[in-house]
Amino acid sequence: MRKKEIKVLLVDDEVEFVDTLGQRLRMRGLVVDIVYDGEQALSFVRKTEPDVIVLDLKMPGLNGMEVLREVKKLKPDVQVIILTGHGTDKDEAEARKLGGFDFIRKPADINLLVVKIKEAFSEKFERAMMAVTFAEAGVFDTAKRIIKKDE
């Protein structure tokens, strides 16, 4: 069985930083796309569904929290990891509340970041598999029948 490639979208206005990070992640077998602001990120997510977004917080235009909020509305299954040079504890709490998978402060260790991306992807994959399993087992149909009977 072919191993599924993990599709990552990097979002950061620090061009040199994010281009280099992208290169390093590709060397480690990840499929990487890069955008440089929040509007580009949302535009990308509307067209395709990355598995994991690695997202900076402080960007010109739409900031990372706004992007996170919108992504979770558009594609709730997409996992988001915040990677920021800013980051207070308050920011971390808010990001997690909005559905962020993890919160990492720059400069980050590449190996840690890859581990977190894979963990985020695994969680997304497991949720998707559970949904398929329930559907196949007719759980949803059974549930609908029970609810209708009660009504």
Partner: protein
């Protein structure tokens, strides 16, 4: 007088904002340096057979870059915390963290005089309500008093301890003293003035100072 107080409190927020912005910017630079040096290492690693000798020669400078970037990142995160502390006023504090931030920011000053700063914190102490920056300012004034007296190789031990319904923050100086030839940064008695004005329970005599919080 009221206007002056208002201006000073907003000036503090301004300074805090500048510090936090600077720390953020610097962290981004460090992030780029770390990625670029990491990429160099990756390129050599992924072309191992061709680049063995090059890898060996570059291992040490690369390690030095990582180590310094790590140190610098710690300092910028500490500075960012300090900057954010300046925006608010009285809040619920973990005293160990508040004193820890101060020690991280002033270690260069102590190192230049060859004075060792030691943290001897009791763990699991309860939070207290205080203005973190004012507390740090008070501790800094007390510290400065000691530092300008101590000879090189002296130590300043910062401790926290809880005893019943009392939490203490202590500074204890160890080592030989010398005549003060260095000009003070703050006027004499500054620590006592801060304590009196802001209601800190301060005891300072000779080599020992302590600030008491009632829990």
């Amino acid at each position: 007088m009221e206007n002056e107080t208002l201006i000073r409190s907003n000036q503090r927020k301004f300074i805090g904002k500048i510090l936090a912005l600077y720390a953020h910017d610097l962290n981004n630079q460090l992030g780029t340096i770390k990625e670029a040096s990491g990429l160099m290492e990756d390129i050599m690693e992924f072309n191992k057979s061709k680049n063995n000798r090059l890898r060996e020669e570059l291992a040490k400078p690369l390690q030095s870059i990582y180590s310094r970037v790590g140190e610098a990142a710690f300092l910028t995160n500490t500075l960012s915390t300090f900057g954010h502390e300046m925006k608010g006023e009285t809040s619920s504090l973990n005293i160990n963290e508040t004193v820890g931030v101060l020690l991280a920011l002033v270690r260069r000053m102590a190192a230049q005089r060859r004075i060792e700063l030691v943290a001897d914190f009791q763990t699991d102490i309860p939070a207290v309500t205080a203005d973190p920056v004012m507390l740090q300012f008070l501790l800094f004034c007390l510290m400065e008093e000691q530092i300008i007296r101590l000879k090189p190789k002296g130590r300043l031990v910062f401790g926290t301890a809880r005893s019943g319904k009392v939490l203490s923050v202590m500074i204890h100086a160890e080592g030989e003293e010398e005549a003060m030839d260095e000009k003070r940064m703050f006027p004499e008695g500054m620590a006592q003035l801060i304590a009196k004005t802001y209601g800190y329970n301060l005891t300072a005599n000779g080599r020992n100072s302590s600030i008491i919080f009632n829990l």
